[in-house]
Amino acid sequence: MHVSTRSHLRKGFRFAPSLFSLALVVGSVVLCCSQPAKALPAFARKYGLRCSACHESWPMLNFFGQKFKDNGYQLMNDRDAPIWQNPGYWPVTFRITPIWHRVSTGKVLVDTYSGGALTGTNTAITRVTSSGFDLSGLDFHTGGTLEKNFSFYVLPSSDNTASFHFETVMARLDNLFGSPWLNVKFGKFELDNLLSEKRILTLTGNGGIYQLYHFVPQGDGNVFGKMGDNQLGLEVMGHSWNDRTRYSAALLSTSDGTPGLVYSNAYTGFFTASQAFDAGKFGVQRVGFYAMVGEAPTSWLTSGGPTGALPGTGAGNKPFSREGFVGQFYFGQHVDLTVVTQHGEDNAWFGQGYGDFIGGTVPNNNVPGTVLPAGSQNPTWNGVLLEPHYVYSPQLIFIGRYETIRMSQQANGSGSLNPSASNFGNISTYTIGYRYNPFMTSRAGFAWHNEYNWLHQDGTGPSLGLNTTNINTSELLIGFDFDF
């Protein structure tokens, strides 16, 4: 990027207040004049319930919504089977979010020019800030029951250029042998995380995901250990009749949800269990744990050199794990706090970049005779996520989140030629925002969304031959988040 871009952006930024003011006025008018839409989100339409019955704030589930989901999208009454619906009923909802956002990245390596030519030093580190209108991707949610105790979910999802993939495709058999303790899910689905990333209340690039669910150390080649991504596999889950007690166990292909046998025959297990307690006026409190334990390949058969890996030939499986505790605590009807912790560990081979498979090539390949560099060790880390909410009403929620991830052992230990700094790759991020639903019906969802995210990572900025630098990125986002 040209350094003059910065001053150009500054000039452009002078007009931003006017443009932004106009957008706010238009937004305010639209909000004040909003009427309930005549459209029907799939489940609310089927059962005649408001969004707020199942969602603390759409799309995040509350306890009743979680129970509905755990029952296989059933209220467990006599009207669950689709035969009771009007024949015209089609369980489809779409969701998309037009936004305005401003992203500012603290340290970016850019070319430098003087008199139309590259300078002698050629590069500099600068802050890059850009803003503009944008779109999220488009999701088509279709789900529900095929018959009593037979349920499904299919979610074709696109990026903001309408390039689609299957985010979720799963069928589920519910209440096997008449017991809520035995339900089986098959296909591609979200892992049974109590704090669901697919139902996250924030939308920015860094704040719209849980960093804890995707973290791998810098330079790590583990392609799989991302709890936030939907995975291919089989899940058995069960719960008590009132959903106070719940468990799940999933067997997953180690493919990070990528269809096709591109990786190997490695498998991963994901286990969760939780127990909820009544706390009187405070509400229902829940505590639980999760563990993800698996293997992923580090070596590949090749064609045309050690980096030209053949899909599906992954071998040399090495272990990795993620485990932690989850707590969902309610302090009455307005305030709640979710806590997730994590301890993660990857095998030393992943720590040195083995395992990664990108477009048919592998930067590192654990072919016969390969040895790890001196001082290599398993990278380990610890993290915590705190997400408090203030729910003023079902229509207005204030959101906060703080996440921090700290490396406890770097892949390049003290015996390495270039040992990593102890804080290399550490992340701290916070997000604040609110979502306001100007109407709340059983037909459609619409939220006016405002959010700010700030993320700091140690040692991952450009270096220019000096010590590596830290990166700070901030993003402001305003948008209309709606489903129909």
């Binding site: 207040p17 937004g27 959903d243 229509q395």
Partner: protein, 292 residues
Amino acid sequence: MQRNHLRKWSLLVGAAVVALPLPSWAQLTQYDFETRMNMEAHIGNITGHAKDAKGDYRRYCVVCHGQNGDGNGEVALWLDPPTWPKPRDFQLGIFKCRSTPTGTLPTDQDLFDTIARGLDRSAMPQWSTFTKQERADLVAWVKHFSPRWTNEKPGTPITIPPEPEVTPERIKAGRDVFARVQCWKCHGVQGQANGPSAATLQDDLGRPIAPFNFTDGTRPKCGDTDQDIYRIFMTGLDGTPMPSFADNIKPDEAWDLVFYLRTFMAQKSKEKAIAKQLGLKPVDPNAPPPQQ
């Protein structure tokens, strides 16, 4: 200069953040039932307070039962009886599921149980996810809609004698009770809700209503234990054509009838097995009613 621009911009953002949610606050002030807001409900040693249920009612219940509890929530329009009964009008203070005699108010426990159990064959789900305290608060909230709760006391729950042993004789006696009090006129001779009166039934508000079909595997509205079934026909379902048979059926006969009704139900039961062994035939609607 640029600093001024930024200041203006910051002020605008701040104003927008504060101003846009205002309609939500405005909506909260529309709701006014202050006169009965001190209503309480007592469930064991738990005391429910109406004022504490306001948020839960708004989040979960208002869509059907309406802001004023009159059963005219936004979804009511789309509920077509008899397939989908209309939501309960809490202002009337009339409830189907009671342990108390017909015409009287239910106990707090009755309402408490109904919230958790839900009502099959209606849009009312099982709200078992609440804590007991939250449910007790909601009971108080439901009560605060009707002046009946300030003027009357709930009825005294009926006494249910201990359940006797199921015998072939009792099941046959139950069939006689079924014929004598003419349950079949609405429920059909085989409990399939196809009696000669079934298509003409209306509730107290003149809306079509269907009798219970014992054979399709769904749960009776007010509970599916033997005690619940006993209670249903001895207290009646107020507001519906289902009367109380407390004056027509003796307690011992009531148990006989419970056992006979079990023979219709889809679930496996001792009663069904005995009826099968007996080769029990449905009642004959044209036969003279058995003598008491």
